[in-house]
């Protein structure tokens, strides 16, 4: 019974609050603005990051699963000029080092060397691509290491690598450009003027950040080094652990053996970087964490300011409506009736602002998807609830004092008030 009366009180207070908001429309809208901005900021950023994350968690699988990747400098570099020079000054990783690591590694499924470069032009007869095609040099394990999937034809065989054969596997963008109506297998193309025989084609990978991941060709690492390498070329080495369980152990072994290969003393720092898909995602995570925290701080400030605005407006509202409060009390409103009415008014005020902020935030946050293909819009449902929860909380915290003040008014004094 008590619960039912309370519910009824809430229900009636809800409609009274709506009436009061409607009666003071302009003022209510101005108050809402702060809340809208606060909620908008956090929701927009969270939505944008969520869309990026969903694109990255699928797109960032640069390496095959259980693959450890070794190269001279970190995959994602942050820091100043000095720290970058530190990486740049490290000795390059050569093909011989990769082969030596392969010999030394015991607990690895394969050890694969690779490198890539961009800006090449591929020609087939009279057809030609733009000078923006990537060329990757790999060995027979390269497809698996880099998470490429063969569509037709064959993979490289050890002899292709050993003898530096001029054979090539094509990415789908290149196939579409040069072989729109023709089977590319066994045809001869040129990469910056050097002829290669096509032995296979790759499956489509799609896009990440609006960038095609299929605009490249793959050649044996030995041929790559011969024709496209330079004295700045430093290889990457992919090492596949036998399974997920032994991943960490394999990683330790890679570091130990790599230190020997690089001729490091016991006290020397590693002059190479070890990374993996998980590490990449982690790095991205620490990068977005900063943005999230910044958006969070903006929201908190905006919401606190908005909360003070709500308190202000509710105090004005109470002092303007002293007579109304007197009337309500005279005809039987209890302290709680008045308290609920003004409290709910504050809560609904901020909730309405919150709903508008959420909608705007989701809208603007998803605009990121306009610039990237194949990224689905996201509604960060958890943040929607957090946002609305915080709004209610703000309404209660900053509404309680004005409401308490209203509830405590003396009916006789209030009735006399003009």
């Amino acid at each position: 019974m008590y619960v039912r009366t309370t519910l009824k009180t809430l229900n009636d207070a809800f409609f009274m609050a709506l009436e009061a908001i409607r009666d003071n429309l302009l003022r209510s809208i101005l108050t809402l603005l702060g809340i809208v901005i606060g909620v908008f900021a956090i929701i927009a950023v969270m939505t944008a990051i969520r869309t990026l994350e969903s694109s990255i968690n699928t797109g960032l699988n640069v390496f095959g699963s259980d693959v450890i990747f070794v190269q001279k400098s970190p995959v994602i570099q942050m820091g100043d000029h000095n720290s970058r020079r530190k990486y740049w000054r490290r000795p390059n990783i050569t093909y011989d080092m990769a082969l030596e690591l392969r010999d030394r590694m015991v607990g690895a499924e394969f050890v694969s060397a690779q490198d890539g470069t961009g800006g090449k032009t591929i020609r087939f007869k009279k057809e030609s691509t733009n000078p923006n095609v990537g060329v990757q040099g790999v060995d027979e394990f390269g497809l698996e290491a880099l998470n490429h999937k063969l569509d037709y034809g064959r993979n490289f065989i050890p002899e292709d690598i050993e003898y530096g054969r001029r054979v090539v596997i094509l990415g789908t963008d290149v196939i579409q450009k040069l072989f729109p109506f023709q089977d590319p297998i066994n045809q001869t193309i040129t990469i910056n003027g050097i002829g290669f025989d096509v032995i296979g084609t790759l499956q489509r990978k799609g896009e990440m950040f609006g960038q095609s991941q299929d605009n490249f060709v793959i050649v044996p690492i030995t041929s790559y080094l011969q024709y496209y390498g330079s004295r700045w070329t430093s290889l990457g080495i992919s090492i596949k652990a036998p399974d997920g369980e032994s991943f960490d152990r394999t990683k330790e072994e890679v570091i130990d053996q790599m230190r020997i290969v690089r001729g490091l003393g016991p006290m020397d720092e590693n002059d190479f970087e070890v990374t993996s898909n998980d590490a990449l995602i982690d790095t991205f995570g620490s990068f977005t964490a900063g943005i999230k925290m910044f958006a969070g701080a903006v929201s908190v400030i905006a919401l606190v300011v908005a909360g003070i605005g709500i308190m202000n407006i509710m105090l004005v509202s109470v002092s303007e409506r002293i007579k109304e409060i007197g009337i309500r009390k005279a005809i039987g409103a209890t302290r709680n009736n008045i308290l609920f009415q003004f409290l709910l008014e504050a809560v609904f005020l901020s909730l309405i602002g919150g709903v508008i902020g959420v909608m705007l935030g989701i809208g603007v946050g998803n605009m990121v998807t306009l610039f990237m293909k194949n990224v689905a819009p996201v509604i960060p449902i958890d943040w929607v609830f957090i946002g609305l929860g915080v709004c209610s909380f703000i309404g209660i915290v900053f509404g309680i004092y004005p409401a308490y003040k209203a509830a405590g008014l003396d009916p006789i004094e209030s009735l006399r008030h003009e």
Partner: protein, 235 residues
């Protein structure tokens, strides 16, 4: 027992060092379906008595029984419930919520009653408005109504809860004499229908509508007598 039984009621304010006895030992009882006017010059304590009878205030000391319950010692919320269920107020300045319709204004006491469903509330409010001949003005706001109509909305609001007493504080004070008469006729009718009415006024011709007049002076009851009309009724 009488509907209202007041015994040795004191209301004393402390103003600095001086003690103001707004009510200085008032005893009065009012029966069911009585029509009483309370008169007195300003400062006589009539507003204070009216606030106490209306359960808007509590006395400094004394007994006040309304409908058999002791009101004098009640807390704020209990008083609010008594006001809601037993008292219908009609004020000099109407005191309607300016931005709400007649219907909404009349419904308000029922909302605070807390036990009446929304559609019942609506029906009851429309019935009350019809009783004061405003059945065709339910969706008008106070500023779309004349002074007399506003006061009739206020009367409908006072009636809607079916209160034990209707307490009217200078109900014609803000109306011209013709409209004032109309409102008084309305009170007369409500009295005939069995309502108990307490009228606070300083105008003799308004007080004359009642059957009994209580005159206050300096916080005490100076005269408590039947009016001419009251005498006629008893004859």
């Amino acid at each position: 027992m009488s509907l209202i039984q007041v015994k040795d009621l004191y209301k004393i304010y402390q103003m600095g060092n001086t003690e103001v006895r707004a009510l200085d030992g008032v005893s009065v009882s009012i029966e069911q379906n009585e029509y009483v006017s309370i008169m007195g010059p300003s400062g006589s304590g009539k507003s204070t008595l009216m606030n106490l009878l209306g359960c808007l205030d509590t006395p400094t000391s004394g007994e006040f029984f309304m409908d058999g319950t002791n009101v004098a010692t009640m807390g704020d919320d209990e008083l609010a419930h008594i006001r809601n269920k037993k008292i219908g107020f009609v004020f000099q300045t109407f005191n309607l919520l300016p931005k709400s319709t007649s219907l909404r204004n009349v419904e308000l006491p029922l909302i605070y009653n807390g036990e009446i469903k929304a559609h019942e509330r609506r029906d009851m409010a429309i019935r009350a408005l019809t009783r004061v001949n405003l059945g065709d003005r339910v969706s008008h706001k106070p500023n779309e109504l004349s002074g007399g109509q506003r006061q009739r909305v206020a009367v409908a609001r006072a009636l809607v809860n079916n209160p034990a007493i209707i307490l009217a504080d200078e109900p014609t004070g803000n109306l011209d004499s013709k409209t004032g008469e109309e409102i008084m006729t309305l009170f007369d009718e409500l009295h005939k229908q069995g309502n108990t009415i307490i009228l606070v006024t300083h105008e003799e011709h308004i007080a004359a509508h009642a059957s009994r007049v209580v005159r206050l002076l300096d916080g005490k009851i100076a005269v408590d007598e039947a009016t001419n009309r009251g005498k006629k009724v008893t004859q």
